[in-house]
Every structure is written in structure tokens, then in C-alpha cells.
Amino acid sequence: MSEYLLLLLGTALVNNVVLVKFLGLCPFMGVSKKMDGALGMGMATTFVLTLTTAMTWMLEHWLLMPLGIQYLRILAFILTIAAVVQFTEMLIRKFSPALYQVLGIYLPLITTNCAVLGIALLNVQEQNGFMHSLLYGFGSAVGFMLVMLLFTGLRVRLALAQVPPAFSGAPIGFITASLLALAFMGFAGLTAH
């Protein structure tokens, strides 16, 4: 139990996907302008990321590995991710327009969120078991959502600040992200002890 907790903590804080592993930066920089958006994106990502880590694990262990065709991994994984994402989108859109209002517009962006494929591939690389993979995916998604929310809060505040014209918008966004990454370095070594 405490091992799993440490794993979650480690993936969410210490080795944060965005700030340390550098995955999922495009939506991180792009979507985080409004709190609702960040929350929607975070939830959508959590859903898809958890689902796809499970699916890709099965794909890897029940299809690619037994058949010895690991060289098709990238192809098979991305196909699965794209299909899951698109299917989820259509489903939500049809059956829960309210949820679609919240999550819908972010779903297509997730296909090209490299955190999803990245985590799936890392799971293979690190030879994680099923449970471990799932937690890894979920923890990463939580970490993604966490920094996304923090960053959005900061940017909402920056939107009211008198940032010099040369820096307003994206440049100050990056510098803020830089300082946020600096802060997250404080978690280093937290799970080593």
C-alpha cells in the first residue's frame, strides 16, 4: 500500500510529467488560460491517460510481445490512443452534451499530447507490471492536472498584471513555468528515503 502511495507521490510530484519529464507541454502552455479549461483538460487527460495505459499494456503484453512484433509498438499504441480518444469524444458528445461542454473541446488535443504516448512507452521501457503501469499513468495524469491548475491560477493572475509588452503572453508564461519548475525541484529526493 505505502509502496503504491510513494509511487503516486513520486510520479505526481517528484518526477512531474510536465515540469521534470517534459511531456504534455503543448496543452500545458496552450490551454491554461482559464480555470475551467484547465480543469476540463486535466480531467479529460486523466481519463484518457488511465484508460490508454491499461489498453497499451494489454496490447504490449498480449499481442506485440507474444508475436515478437515489438517494432510495431509505436504504430499500434498511437492507433489505439487515437481511436480511444476519438471514440470517447463522439460518445460523450452524443450522450452527455453537458460533459461535452466541459471536456469535449479538449479531447482531440489529447491525441497529440505526448504525455499519453510517452507514459505508455515509458511503462514498456521500465517493464512495469499492470497495476504499476496503471498507477504510473494515473499518477502522471494527476501530476499533469496539478501543475496545470497551479499554472492556470498563476496565468489568470498575470493577465491582470502590468507585464511589459515584450514579455506579455507566452514569454512570461514560460518564465513562470520556469520558476514553477524551480519550486518543484524542492520535492527532489522525497521518495528516496
Binding site: 517534459f22 507541454l25 509505436i74 491525441t111 499530447n113 512507452l121 514569454p171 514560460f174 520556469s178 519548475a181
Partner: protein, 225 residues
């Protein structure tokens, strides 16, 4: 015609630069740019995929139906990426070890699918090829600049290990700027990556503004004369 090509070139290299204007493909941009060499390697690998994917997609665009458009493009891109992945693994193993996961992640590089959607699916093969090449080179340039800045300030070298990663032919690039530099770790660590991109973005903006102002001034002068 020439003007069109010039336009595509300008868009790719500067005004619609993948990193500095579109703000896409940020993950590799930050993850592999601790040195200029890494940036160059990553940029070239991405350029190859971008060029090929644009060519292939523009040639099959009429066959593809809208419902499965995205999956088809993705499959095509993934294949190209796998090819690059295998080739690097086989013939540029050192580079492959450094870039690691991020080669595979070229698949989800939003810029590639973005170009496929926005350009290749609407334009002819030659145009698409040029667009892919220029976008790729623009991306490469961005990575090299970011990597270069981080490397110079971080460890006072430039293109370190180029011969190891890219092959002996590239050893001419290697430079040591300050021989016994203490090292400024911030630059090499994640926060430094974000910071350098932020500062470069601001620099690009100032330069664009200066240029616009100069153009305006020139126009005004012409009007006066």
C-alpha cells in the same frame, strides 16, 4: 510562383516558426535541448519525418475520407517515425541513446499532424515538400538556438560531443568557450529550459517589433518622397 516559395520559406523559418510562433512541439524543444548537438539531432530527425509525411499525405489526400482522416495520417506518421527510430538505433546509436523516448514521441509532435492537416491535405506535393522542409528546418534552427544558449551559459561549450552523436564529420562544430567554466546548472536543468525559451520568445518579439517599426518608417519616407 517564386514568391509563393519564398512565402512558404519565410513562414517555416521565421514568421510561422513551429516553436517561436506556433508554440507547438514544446516537449522535444525543452527536453532535448540541454546542448546544441542534441537539438540539432532531434531537429534533423523531425525534419525528415515532417518532409516525408507532408509528401505522402499530400499525395494520398484525395483518397482519404474525413471520418478516418486523422487515424490514417497518424498511422502514416507513426510508420515514418518508427523508421527513423530504427535507423537511428542502428546507425546512430549514441544519438539514439541521448534523444531516447523523444524520437518515438515525434509521432505526437503536434506540429507534424498540424502541418498534415493545415497544409499537406490541401496542397500539392511540391509545395507540401517545401513546407515540410522549411517547417522542419525552422524547428531545427529553434532547437539549435535554444540548445546553444543553454549550453553556452550552462557549460561554456557549443556542440559538445557532436562527433560522438552525429558522427566524426561533425567534430568541426565543437567549441569550448571558457576553458575552466564553473558551470551554471540552472541552464541545463528543466527550469533553465523554460527560461531560455521565454527569453528567446521575448527577444523575437522585440526584433519583430523593431522590424515593423522600421518598415513603417521606411514606408513613411517613401510616401514623403
Amino acid at each position: 510562383m517564386n514568391e509563393k516559395y519564398a512565402h512558404i520559406t519565410r513562414e517555416g523559418l521565421w514568421s510561422n516558426n513551429v516553436v517561436f510562433a506556433q508554440m507547438l512541439a514544446l516537449c522535444p524543444t525543452l527536453a532535448v535541448t540541454s546542448t546544441a548537438t542534441n537539438g540539432l539531432g532531434m531537429g534533423l530527425a523531425t525534419t525528415a519525418v515532417l518532409l516525408l509525411s507532408n509528401v505522402i499525405i499530400s499525395s494520398v489526400r484525395h483518397l482519404v475520407s474525413p471520418e478516418v482522416r486523422i487515424p490514417v495520417y497518424i498511422v502514416l506518421i507513426a510508420t515514418l517515425v518508427t523508421l527513423v527510430d530504427m535507423s537511428l538505433n542502428a546507425w546512430a546509436h549514441e544519438l539514439y541513446k541521448v534523444l531516447g523516448l523523444f524520437i518515438a514521441l515525434i509521432v505526437v509532435n503536434c506540429a507534424i499532424l498540424g502541418r498534415a492537416e493545415a497544409f499537406a491535405s490541401k496542397n500539392g506535393m511540391a509545395d507540401s515538400a517545401l513546407d515540410g522542409l522549411m517547417m522542419g528546418l525552422g524547428f531545427t534552427a529553434a532547437l539549435v538556438v535554444i540548445g546553444g544558449v543553454r549550453e553556452i551559459f550552462g557549460s561554456a561549450t557549443l556542440f559538445a560531443n557532436a562527433h560522438l552523436l552525429l558522427g566524426p564529420a561533425f567534430s568541426f562544430l565543437e567549441m569550448t568557450i571558457v576553458p575552466d567554466y564553473k558551470g551554471f546548472l540552472l541552464m541545463i536543468l528543466p527550469p533553465g529550459g523554460f527560461m531560455v525559451v521565454g527569453l528567446l520568445l521575448a527577444a523575437k518579439r522585440v526584433s519583430d517589433q523593431r522590424r515593423a517599426a522600421r518598415a513603417q518608417l521606411a514606408a513613411a519616407e517613401v510616401a514623403v518622397n
